[in-house]
């Protein structure tokens, strides 16, 4: 079976990496390239784009409102708000690109422990980062962010924050399967918090589902987010944790899953009919 979404997602991840590396390859002065910057803030064809969580931290830390900066973050914010928050995680984030390799190691050594934590921890941590930024007057997560460190190592300063990246890789390999992304990353937490309003969702066709649980085995986010759909309680996977990686769609042998546009008003009355039939 062709893993359609897997190939598409890998291509996008590679494209994003090449886009950020392009100033180093294409231009003498990186800032003169058509695109430059990092995931914290970048510029494409003169249009500024900034990371919404970073912008919130800086604004709270400096207690100063810079509308141009907030505007540049709003562009990114609304893109993810409309598509689905955690699309950032599985399609863009370079740390996830790195951590996906830990899954390969875990496939070889199946007896590694997998401790589960509360998937909402990352949302609380995102809030904590904002509060600390306000109190200490420093954008706290920007200093420890493994995403920031990955960008810095790629683009500016080799050897910075490598210990943090190493710790996260070790944690994901030996303690908890994809634990950093699933439970602790504040950026993922921020996007999970706005994830429910995304229009693109995983759609479940319960007539085709045979309850084989294959989708849960490959899920990047918390596998339990698929349960309501498998049990037929919801047509579209509603959890903000879903990163639309498409692994479940690829894994389903019965074509029960697809990624589709969720209508703004719920025009799917099939569930209502079922209820009314039960009542008779």
């Amino acid at each position: 079976m062709v893993k359609k979404w897997f190939l598409l997602r890998k291509s996008v991840q590679l494209f994003i990496l090449l886009l950020f590396l392009s100033p180093l390859i294409l231009a003498d002065v990186a800032g003169a390239n058509f695109f430059y910057g990092s995931l914290t803030s970048s510029e494409i064809l003169g249009i500024r784009l900034s990371d919404p969580l970073g912008t919130l931290q800086v604004t709270l830390a400096a207690k100063y409102i810079n509308w141009a900066y907030i505007g540049s973050a709003s562009i990114i914010f609304f893109i993810y708000l409309v598509i689905s928050g955690r699309v950032f995680c599985s399609w863009v984030c370079p740390v996830n690109t790195l951590l996906e390799c830990t899954d390969l190691i875990r496939k070889k050594f199946k007896r590694l422990p997998d401790i589960h934590f509360d998937k909402n921890t990352k949302i609380y941590l995102a809030g904590l980062m904002l509060v600390l930024s306000f109190l200490i007057s420093v954008p706290v997560f920007e200093i420890i962010s493994p995403i920031g460190h990955t960008m810095r190592n790629l683009l500016f300063t080799w050897g910075i924050g490598v210990s943090i990246l190493l710790a996260i890789v070790l944690f994901d390999v030996f303690i908890s399967k994809r634990g950093w992304c699933r439970y602790f990353c504040p950026v993922g937490g921020f996007y999970a918090a706005i994830g429910r309003s995304g229009r693109f969702r995983v759609k479940m066709d319960n007539d085709r589902c045979v309850q084989c649980q294959q989708c849960k085995h490959v899920c990047f986010a918390e596998p339990s987010i698929l349960d309501p759909s498998i049990q037929g309680k919801e047509t579209f996977v509603s959890s903000g944790d879903c990163s639309l990686c498409g692994a479940c769609v690829d894994a389903c042998a019965h074509n029960a899953l697809q990624i589709g546009l969720k209508p703004i008003r719920n025009t799917d009355y099939s569930k209502d009919k079922e209820i009314s039939l039960d009542q008779k």
């Binding site: 100033p23 003498d28 002065v29 990186a30 800032g31 430059y36 910057g37 990092s38 914290t40 803030s41 970048s42 510029e43 500024r48 900034s50 990371d51 970073g54 912008t55 931290q57 800086v58 830390a61 400096a62 207690k63 100063y64 810079n66 141009a68 900066y69 540049s72 509360d118 909402n120 921890t121 609380y124 941590l125 904590l128 509060v131 600390l132 109190l135 200490i136 007057s137 420093v138 954008p139 706290v140 920007e142 200093i143 920031g148 960008m151 810095r152 683009l155 500016f156 300063t157 050897g159 910075i160 924050g161």
Partner: protein, 198 residues
């Protein structure tokens, strides 16, 4: 969220607060790029995105490592290796998304630091006609002037001593970069001092 979880987050937050405060006290004073706001505001405003680093045509702006404490990822210059050339269009200031670098229109608006001459090691003060820093200074005859006087105890030779006007010096560091004396360098840029927190 259960009470236990709330407690965990709370304890973590308290510990982090204390730790981060200690780290901030350990932040270094370094030479910042042109237009940097006061150090305390700078640490708050700088999003550590690195665009100024990429915008600098001379690759003079470097990014702080772990030894910068809370200044990790913030831009700085080591002017002995790579001074600020005070570009006419201020690409680093233009690149900054957060206004951590701001308010520069002309060279005299810059206040990165002040050059200080070590008169014990400067060969010009010994009577040699060096003048390298004076000639290299982009604000020649403003930031660095020559004080010409007869060499004490010598009726034939004069001393061409460079003198810095701290009011005019912008701290670009071109003098430190060009200084011919090494170990120690006879002219060094002292970074601007951080203002009061409130």
């Amino acid at each position: 969220m259960s009470k236990l979880q709330l407690l965990k987050v709370l304890i973590g937050g308290v510990a982090a607060y204390e730790l981060l405060k200690m780290m901030k006290a350990g932040s270094k004073t370094v030479i910042r790029p042109p237009g940097a706001v006061d150090e305390h505001s700078f640490l708050a405003l700088c999003s550590r995105c690195g665009k100024c680093n990429q915008a600098c045509p001379y690759k003079a702006i470097k990014m702080g490592k772990e030894d910068f404490g809370l200044g990790l990822g913030t831009p700085y210059l080591t002017v002995r290796d790579d001074p600020c050339r005070l570009c006419e269009d201020w690409p680093c200031v233009a690149a900054c998304p957060t206004n951590a670098l701001t308010g520069i229109e002309k060279r005299t608006d810059v206040a990165m630091g002040t050059a200080v001459i070590d008169k014990d090691h400067c060969i010009a003060y010994e009577g040699i006609r060096c003048e390298v820093c004076y000639r290299a200074c982009p604000l020649i005859d403003e930031a660095i002037k020559l004080d010409i006087y007869m060499r004490p105890g010598d009726d034939i030779h004069a001393v061409f001593a460079p003198v810095i006007d701290p009011e005019k010096c912008v701290g670009c560091g071109i003098c430190e970069n060009k200084c011919v004396v090494d170990n120690p360098v006879a002219i060094r840029v002292k970074p601007r001092e951080a203002g009061d927190l409130w």
